[in-house]
């Protein structure tokens, strides 16, 4: 132990805290969960992510210099891979509300070690959702006009407002539960280094763990947990309305809000499973992220996959049954045409196979769960691509006298580079947050253990 004056907050019957010297068991928890410096492989990982981000930044420089003409978006597909990626990020960010808020309000104790992971993913995703929407703009320097002249009647403005709100809530929901942990981190100055110590001091040196502070913090977290749920539902519903309020085949649906939210919960849970496996293996957190966590997350993934499958059936079966003339080209292209391989890949990989694998107990072990998590996330990304592109290629009123290339869409290398850069950027933020902050809430884990021993 580096700081002999270190104390932790122990729970009392009144749910308040009192400070006590740390026990050997607590000390072990702290040592296990303190953020660790990057090893060689950690630096390589970070370097790879930064390199991908730099390629993306270069591609964006080219887009700024030459304009959106460097993309393959034209009159038909004016929302390409960028908007698909935006929807994907918004979807993933919803996990913060699911794991943190829903679990906390429902009194689900086993989810406590996963809350920080979920919040980190949510913050990283919402940051890049905001960035990618600006990337999609031809003249980002005019972004401020959206606030000066934006129409409150437009779902785009609603989305801007909701994303900003959700970002602040996610940040606060990450920050508030961090305060007791920062107090612990400040006790390890030599281990964290001068710069990080300064940063920790800036963030939370005022946290003394007093009863009054604890009560204020607890109240704030409860308010945040309640507030984030409607905002999270709104963010993804409004994102779905960007499409559903437009009269186009595939988007003209009243099912879209619920369909998007179900999909978002699924991809969010999938991303948490992937992160759980990686952190558990990388940082040897087997004691904290147990097989039980994988089992329960597996069951939840089955439920969410079934829910999303139900909405998919709703979304496609009824128009398929009617096969209206105006929508038939779009549906045929999706089911048996040029988009069929991607469509069936997304449905099978992202929804059906996860259900089949996770129904069995063996499928809910860490490695199969990790693979399923990857399948869900990759399938979800392609699903977003399918929501945007095929519809734009099949408008109700086809354009006349456009070059043949306008009727097809495959992203340019700049679009791919920027998209990959944004995905790498989000993972980089998660990586850096894990380097700076504990992946699993230390104080909460100790408190839980004390609760268990006293009970």
């Amino acid at each position: 132990m580096e700081n002999s004056s270190l104390t932790i907050e122990k729970p009392m019957k009144s749910d308040a805290l009192h400070e006590a010297p740390i026990s050997a068991a607590d000390e072990q928890i702290i040592q296990d969960l303190l953020p660790r410096k990057f090893t060689k492989s950690g630096w390589v990982w970070t370097g790879i992510l930064m390199a991908i981000c730099l390629v993306g930044a270069f591609a964006y420089y080219r887009q700024l210099r030459y304009g959106l003409v460097v993309t393959h978006m034209r009159d038909y597909v004016s929302w390409g891979i960028y908007i698909s990626n935006f929807v994907f990020f918004v979807a993933i960010s919803l996990v913060g509300s699911l794991i943190t808020a829903v679990f906390r309000l429902a009194g689900v104790k086993w989810g406590a070690p996963l809350t920080r992971i979920a919040e980190m993913i949510a913050v990283a995703a919402i940051i890049f959702a905001s960035i990618i929407i600006i990337v999609d703009m031809g003249s980002p320097e005019r972004f401020y006009n959206l606030f000066l002249y934006g129409r409150i009647q437009s779902p785009i403005i609603w989305d801007v407002i909701v994303i900003a709100t959700y970002f602040v809530i996610s940040l606060l929901l990450l920050y508030y539960p961090l305060l007791p942990d920062i107090k612990i981190l400040l006790g390890f100055k030599e281990r964290s280094g001068a710069r990080l110590y300064k940063f920790y001091s800036f963030l939370g040196s005022f946290w003394k763990g007093s009863h009054k502070q604890y009560l204020l913090s607890k109240k704030a977290i409860n308010v945040l947990c309640i507030a984030i749920i409607p905002v999270a539902f709104t963010i993804h519903t409004v994102t779905s309305w960007l499409f559903a309020t437009t009269y186009r085949p595939g988007w003209d649906s009243t099912n879209f809000g619920a369909y998007f939210i179900a999909g978002a919960f699924l991809v969010g849970a999938g991303s948490v499973v992937v992160a759980m496996y990686v952190f558990r293996r990388w940082y040897h957190l087997e004691k904290y992220i147990t097989l039980n966590h994988f089992d329960k997350m597996g069951r939840m993934l089955v439920l969410l996959s079934l829910l999303y499958l139900y909405f998919n059936v709703n979304e496609f079966l009824t128009p398929f049954f009617k096969m209206k003339e105006s929508e038939s080209a779009y549906l045929k292209d999706l089911f048996t045409g040029s988009f069929a391989p991607v469509f069936w890949f997304a449905i099978l990989t992202g929804i059906i196979l996860p259900i089949i694998i996770l129904v069995f107990k063996q499928g809910r072990r860490p490695l199969p769960m990790f693979i399923v998590g990857i399948m869900v996330v990759v399938g979800a990304w392609f699903k977003r691509y399918l929501i945007v592109t095929p519809t734009l290629l099949h408008p109700f009123l086809p354009m006349h006298d456009v070059p043949a290339m306008y009727r097809r869409y495959f992203p340019s290398w700049e679009e791919w580079a920027i998209t990959m850069g944004s995905l790498a950027g989000a993972i980089l933020i998660i990586t850096l947050l894990c380097r700076i902050f504990p992946i699993i809430p230390i104080q909460e884990t100790i408190t839980e253990r004390h609760h268990e021993t006293t009970v």
């Binding site: 709100t165 602040v168 606060l172 007093s210 009054k212 704030a220 945040l224 507030a227």
Partner: protein, 292 residues
């Protein structure tokens, strides 16, 4: 050697066969065109001709586009040329009758229009003609809402009323003409007049209640197509409802519906109020540390 002879003879036979096939193909028949003409005069002023070109394919008539026609008045000569036209995708072409031909027009009470096609790679030469007598139509609207059309034809040097001509009396609407009552046509009497009662009282007119009455002769064998219009204040005043400057979901930012502004603003204030309170809460926690 025998084989060589056989091969040579076979090759020559095959080449002859090919050339023969080619020669037969050169004599393929050209299509035959049918040219129809129609004469129109609106308000006794604007005169024009329309030509419709068709051909028979597998026993069915099909419109032919891209056919160059020359239109003449009375005879196929340079001095009588009305104009040169080319048919469109529907096989139709239109030409105004130039004002310079008025002298020629007034010289006779009957005229024949000619359309000539001089042939091309696909179609043989063809002609079409139409003979019409000089006629005019007048319209009158009585105070008792009676519409009267008068039809006259040129006889020698004066206009004479024409009996037994079918006239349509109608109101001009956006896409078609609406008969003034349930009767589709009215026939002129010995004075050349045909009358009908206007029974479309509630029909919307312009802002002043004006509607346009029309009297027309349609596809008449002797006179072609004649029409004349007259504006009367018999319609209901129509004040268009323009939502352009109203508060609607599709209006400009400044014209957003009040309910939407109130709802959005109250939600934003409520949510951001909570968020600001939570940020201020951090300062309270910080203050508590100082007090401790």
């Amino acid at each position: 050697m025998k084989l060589l002879y056989k091969l040579s003879a076979g090759s020559i036979f095959f080449l002859l066969l090919l050339s023969g096939y080619n020669a037969f193909s050169q004599t393929a028949d050209k299509g035959t065109l049918s040219i129809g003409l129609n004469y129109f005069v609106n308000n006794n002023q604007v005169q024009y001709l329309t030509a419709k070109v068709k051909t028979k394919v597998n026993g069915k008539f099909q419109n032919v586009g891209g056919i160059a026609l020359k239109l003449f008045l009375n005879k196929d000569s340079a001095g009588n040329l009305i104009g040169k036209v080319v048919t469109n995708e529907q096989g139709e072409a239109t030409s105004m009758i130039p004002a310079g031909m008025s002298k020629l027009w007034k010289a006779s009470v009957k005229h024949t229009f000619l359309a000539s096609f001089y042939g091309d790679k696909k179609f043989d030469a063809a002609t079409g003609d139409l003979t019409v007598g000089r006629a005019k139509i007048l319209i009158d609207a009585g105070s008792d809402k009676t519409v009267t059309a008068s039809v006259f034809e040129m006889k020698d040097t004066s206009w004479a009323p024409v009996k037994g001509v079918d006239v349509v009396l109608a109101v001009r609407r956006l896409n078609a003409d609406l008969p003034i009552n349930e009767k589709p046509t009215f026939t002129t009497d010995s004075t050349g007049k045909a009358s009908g009662d206007f029974k479309r009282d509630s029909i919307p007119g312009d802002a002043k209640g004006n509607i346009t009455l029309v009297a027309k002769i349609v596809d008449n064998d002797q006179y072609g197509n004649l029409s004349i219009e007259k504006k009367v204040p018999w319609g209901a005043k129509f004040v268009p409802v323009n939502l352009f400057n109203e508060r609607t979901l599709f209006a400009t930012r400044a014209k957003a519906p009040i309910w939407l502004i109130l709802m959005a603003t109250s939600i934003i204030i409520a949510v951001w109020g909570v968020l600001i309170m939570l940020v201020l809460n951090l300062f309270r926690i910080r203050k508590l540390a100082k007090e401790a």
